[in-house]
Symmetry: C2
Subunit: 480 residues, 2 copies
C-alpha cells in the first residue's frame, strides 16, 4: 500500500469511524456470540498472497463487529468508562505516523518532553501539591503508565526497594530475603484486584484492611493493624489507598491515613483510577485532600478524561525513589545529554522499555476541550448518575447500596441475591443495556456506571424503563 | 468536536500523515534541540477555554516536529527498527474507534478471540511446535504483550512461582522467602538490560553466562555454572536465551541449552525480540531450532514485521503456568462463559489489566501483505545490510565486528575506541544519518541497523559515503 492508496483508504476509514460512532446506539450493546465463534469465520492460516482490501473491510462487519462489546454505546453502563473522543483519535493517528519509541530522551526528545509538561498541566488542573510537579527543577514529576495496575506495581516495587535499603542500613547483617519476608503491604479489602496482584508479583505479604459502613478505610482500624504487626516483628512498608473503589466508588480517608503512613515511614500510594478525573472540578477536589501525604498518586485519564486508552497518569514525590530502584544503562541506550540533570529517561519509570508518544493525545484533548469543557463533561456524567439514582429511589422495590458521589450507582432489588442475579441475567440476555455486578457486604449488587460520551438523559430513562420492565416480568413469575 | 468535524479533520490528518511519511527524508533524521527546549514553546498550563484546532495543527510543525527523532526516515539506522506500515495505521484507527478494553472474554469477545487466532496464524508462519498453538484444544497459546520486557518478566514470574511450589512440595518446612533466596536465574552477558531488570523486579538472583567468540552462549559454560551453583545449594530455575542480541544480533545455541534446561527442570524463555520476525523465511528458520525445548518464546512484530508498536508476541507451552501464577477473580470481572474452558481471559497473562484491540493490526498487516509480502520485506532488509557489509569490508580502514546475519552490521574504524567515539559524535552532529554504538569485547563499535520500510540501496550508499567522508576529515586532523 503506497501513500496514495493510504490517502484513499484513510479517508474511507475516517468515514467508517465517524459512522460507527454516530450510529452506535443502533447496534446491540452486548454481542450475541458463543465462545469460539470467530474461528469458523476466518481461515486457519494467514494468506500466502495479499488479500483484497475491500474484502478485509467487508470482514470488519462480518467477523469483527458481531463480537464487539460496544463500550461507546450510550447503553453501555458496565465496568467504568473507557475514554473515547475525536481529538484523541486524531492525535493517535499522528502518534502512529511518527511511530517513535520513547524509551530515552534522545530516542525522540519531544516524546519525553511533552509527556513531562502534559503531566505538569494535568497535575496543575488537579491542584496537586507542588512537589509532584516536575517544572524545571522539581524532584518529583509525572509519567504516563499503561494502566493503573502498572502504576500500583511500580510504586510497590519502589517502596520495597526503599524499605530493604533502609532495613539493611540499620541491620547490615540481615539478608535481603530475610527483610523481604518481614515486609507487609496494606490495602483496603475493597481495593482493586490488581493491588493484591502487585504484591504477589513483588513477592511481599499484603494485608487487607477492613472498611467502614461506607466501604472506606479509616485511620483507626489501620493503626490497630500496624501496631499488631509491628509487635509481631513485621515491617509495614506500603499502603495503597483507593479514591473511588471499583465496586462502589468509595473513598478511603487519606487525611487520616496519610499522617500515619508518614509517621511510620511507609510509602503511601493513591489509586484514583476512575475518580481522579473528577478532581479537575473544584467541587470534587476536597476528596483529594490528603494527597500531600502521598509518595505517589495515579489515575486514568483513559477512563474518564476523554483520552483514549492507554493513558494512566502517575506522579511521584521523589523521582529518584522510582528510577533508583531498577536503573540499567547499557551503552546502546546511552546518549550525550543524559548526565545533564535536565532530562528524563522514562524507561526507568515503568516496566516496559518501549513507549508510544501518548502525550500527544493529552495535548490535543486538553486544548480542544479546554479545562472548562472537560469539567462540563464530568459534571454532566455525574448529573446523569444522580438522575438514575432518583429513579431508583422513587421505586420502593429497589434500594441504593452506596452513596452516589460520581458517575456510578450501586443498586439492587430489595430481596435475595438470587433475585438480583436473575435480573442481571435477563438484562444481559436482552442486550439492550449492559451492566456488571459487584458484591457489597455479601450482597449481590448491580452497578450502573455512566460511561459513553454520548449517554444522555434519554438513554438513562430508557435504561430504567427497561430494568423496571424486566423486573415486572420477573416478579410476575410463579416462584416470586 | 462532532462527527462532521471529525470527518473533515480526519481527512486532513490522513493527508498530513501521508505527506509526513512520503517526504520524511527531507527532514534531518535527528533533532537539533537541547534538553528542555519544549517548555519555552508552549504555555505552562492547559487552556481554560478551547483552543483553535488550526492553531494546534500549526503547533505540530512549530513545537512537535523539531523535537522528533524520525524513526521512519530512510536515514535512521539506530537501535532496531520500529515497525510502521499503512495497513497497521488503518487498523489502529479502527482499534481506537472501537475503543474496547479487552481484559476478559466478555469485555469484548472478538478482542480476545482474534488475538488468539492471530497468534496461531503467526505461530504457524514461524512453524512453531504444535504445543505453542492454542487451536481449540491446546494447552498452550499466544498473547500480545506490550513489550519484550514484559514478556521476559511474565515468564520469569511464572517460573519463580513454579519453582517455589515445586520446592515447597518436596520441603514443606521451608518458607517461600528461604526458597526464593536460593533461586538463580541465568542469561547471557549479552542479553538485553530488561532481562536483568526482570530479575530485580522478581527479587531473584541472576547470573550472566559468558559468551563465546560470536557473543553467543553455548552449552558447556552454562552446564559448568549450573553444577557449581547446585553444589553451593542454589536452585537454578530459569534461563533466558537470546536469539538476536541487541548489541550484535548474536544467537545463543538453544539446541544445546534447551536439553540442559529441560533436564534440570528449569524454565527456558527465548527472547527473539528483533530477529524473530525473520523466522517466517524458511532460510532463517533453522536459527529457531531448539524452540521445542522452550517453555515460552517471544518476539516483537512491532520491530520488524510491519505492525506498529505495541505488539510483542509471546507464546507459552502451558498456559496454566502463566495464568496460574497470579489469577484474581473479583465479582465485577466474572462472566457467564468463564468456566467453559473454551475461552481465554487475557488479563491473567500479563501485567496490565486493560488491553487495546491490538490483534486488528496483525489481521490487517498479515492480509494486506500476505506471508510472501512479509518475507520479501525481511529479505530486502537483510540484503541491504549485506550491501553495507560489503562496503565496509572493501575499505581497509574499517573492520566488521560480528557476523552479519540479519539487518544489523556492527563495524568500526581499526584503531582506538576514542577514534570511533569521535566518528560517531560527528555522525550524530551532522544529523544526516543516525546510528547508536555498542560495546563488544571492550571495544566501542558502531551499529548500522536497517530500519525504515523505505530504506533503499540509495540510502545505504549515501550513508556509507557520508561515513567515509567524515572519516576522511577526522583522519586529516593533526592528532590522527
Amino acid at each position: 500500500m503506497d501513500a496514495e492508496e493510504f490517502r484513499r483508504r484513510g479517508r474511507e476509514m475516517v468515514d467508517y469511524v465517524a459512522n460507527y460512532l454516530e450510529n452506535i446506539e443502533q447496534r446491540p450493546v452486548y454481542p450475541d456470540v458463543e465462545p469460539g465463534y470467530l474461528r469458523s469465520l476466518i481461515p486457519t492460516e494467514a494468506p500466502l498472497e495479499p488479500d483484497n482490501y475491500d474484502d478485509i473491510i467487508k470482514d470488519v462487519e462480518r467477523v469483527i463487529m458481531p463480537g464487539v462489546t460496544h463500550w461507546h454505546s450510550p447503553y453501555f453502563f458496565a465496568y467504568f468508562p473507557a475514554a473515547n473522543s475525536y481529538p484523541a483519535l486524531l492525535a493517535d493517528m499522528l502518534c502512529g505516523a511518527i511511530g517513535c519509541i520513547g524509551f530515552s530522551w534522545a530516542s525522540s526528545p519531544v516524546c519525553t518532553e511533552l509527556e513531562t509538561v502534559m503531566l505538569d498541566w494535568l497535575g496543575k488542573m488537579l491542584n496537586l501539591p507542588e512537589h509532584f510537579i516536575a517544572g524545571t527543577h522539581g524532584h518529583g514529576g509525572g509519567v504516563i503508565q499503561s494502566t493503573a495496575s502498572e502504576a500500583t506495581l511500580m510504586s510497590l516495587l519502589a517502596a520495597r526497594c526503599k524499605a530493604v535499603r533502609r532495613a539493611q542500613a540499620s541491620n547490615p547483617e540481615k539478608s535481603e530475603a530475610e527483610i523481604v519476608s518481614k515486609l507487609v503491604a496494606y490495602t483496603s479489602e475493597q481495593a482493586h484486584c490488581s493491588v493484591e496482584r502487585a504484591s504477589l508479583i513483588g513477592g511481599v505479604m499484603m494485608k487487607k484492611v477492613p472498611t467502614d459502613n461506607n466501604y472506606a478505610v479509616g485511620g483507626g482500624m489501620f493503626k490497630k493493624m500496624l501496631e499488631e504487626d509491628k509487635a509481631d516483628g513485621l515491617i509495614p512498608f506500603y499502603f495503597c489507598a483507593t479514591l473511588g473503589t471499583t465496586a462502589s466508588c468509595a473513598f478511603d480517608h487519606i487525611t487520616e491515613l496519610g499522617p500515619i503512613c508518614n509517621k511510620e515511614n511507609m510509602w503511601m500510594h493513591i489509586d484514583a483510577a476512575y475518580a481522579g478525573s473528577a478532581f479537575i472540578c473544584p467541587e470534587f477536589r476536597p476528596l483529594l485532600n490528603g494527597v500531600e501525604f502521598a509518595d505517589s498518586f495515579n489515575f486514568n485519564p483513559h477512563k474518564w478524561l476523554l483520552i483514549n486508552f492507554d493513558c494512566s497518569a502517575m506522579w511521584v514525590k521523589k523521582r529518584q525513589d522510582l528510577i533508583g530502584a531498577f536503573k540499567m544503562e547499557p551503552l546502546y541506550l546511552k546518549h550525550e545529554n543524559q548526565e545533564s540533570g535536565m532530562i528524563t529517561d522514562y524507561r526507568h519509570w515503568g516496566i516496559p522499555l518501549g513507549r508510544r508518544f501518548r502525550s500527544l493525545k493529552m495535548w490535543f484533548v486538553f486544548r480542544i476541550y479546554g479545562i472548562q469543557g472537560l469539567q462540563a463533561y464530568i459534571r454532566k456524567q455525574v448529573g446523569l448518575a444522580k438522575e438514575f439514582e432518583s429513579l431508583v429511589r422513587a421505586d420502593k422495590r429497589f434500594e441504593i447500596c452506596a452513596e452516589v458521589i460520581m458517575g456510578l450507582v450501586c443498586f439492587r432489588l430489595k430481596g435475595s441475591n438470587k433475585l438480583n442475579e436473575l435480573l442481571l441475567k435477563r438484562i444481559t440476555k436482552s442486550r439492550e443495556i449492559h451492566l456488571v455486578p459487584c458484591q457489597l457486604s455479601g450482597r449481590f449488587v448491580l452497578r450502573f456506571a455512566i460511561c459513553a460520551l454520548t449517554t444522555d438523559s434519554r438513554h438513562v430513562q430508557e435504561a430504567w424503563r427497561h430494568i423496571t420492565q424486566l423486573t415486572f416480568e420477573i416478579l410476575q413469575e410463579p416462584n416470586h
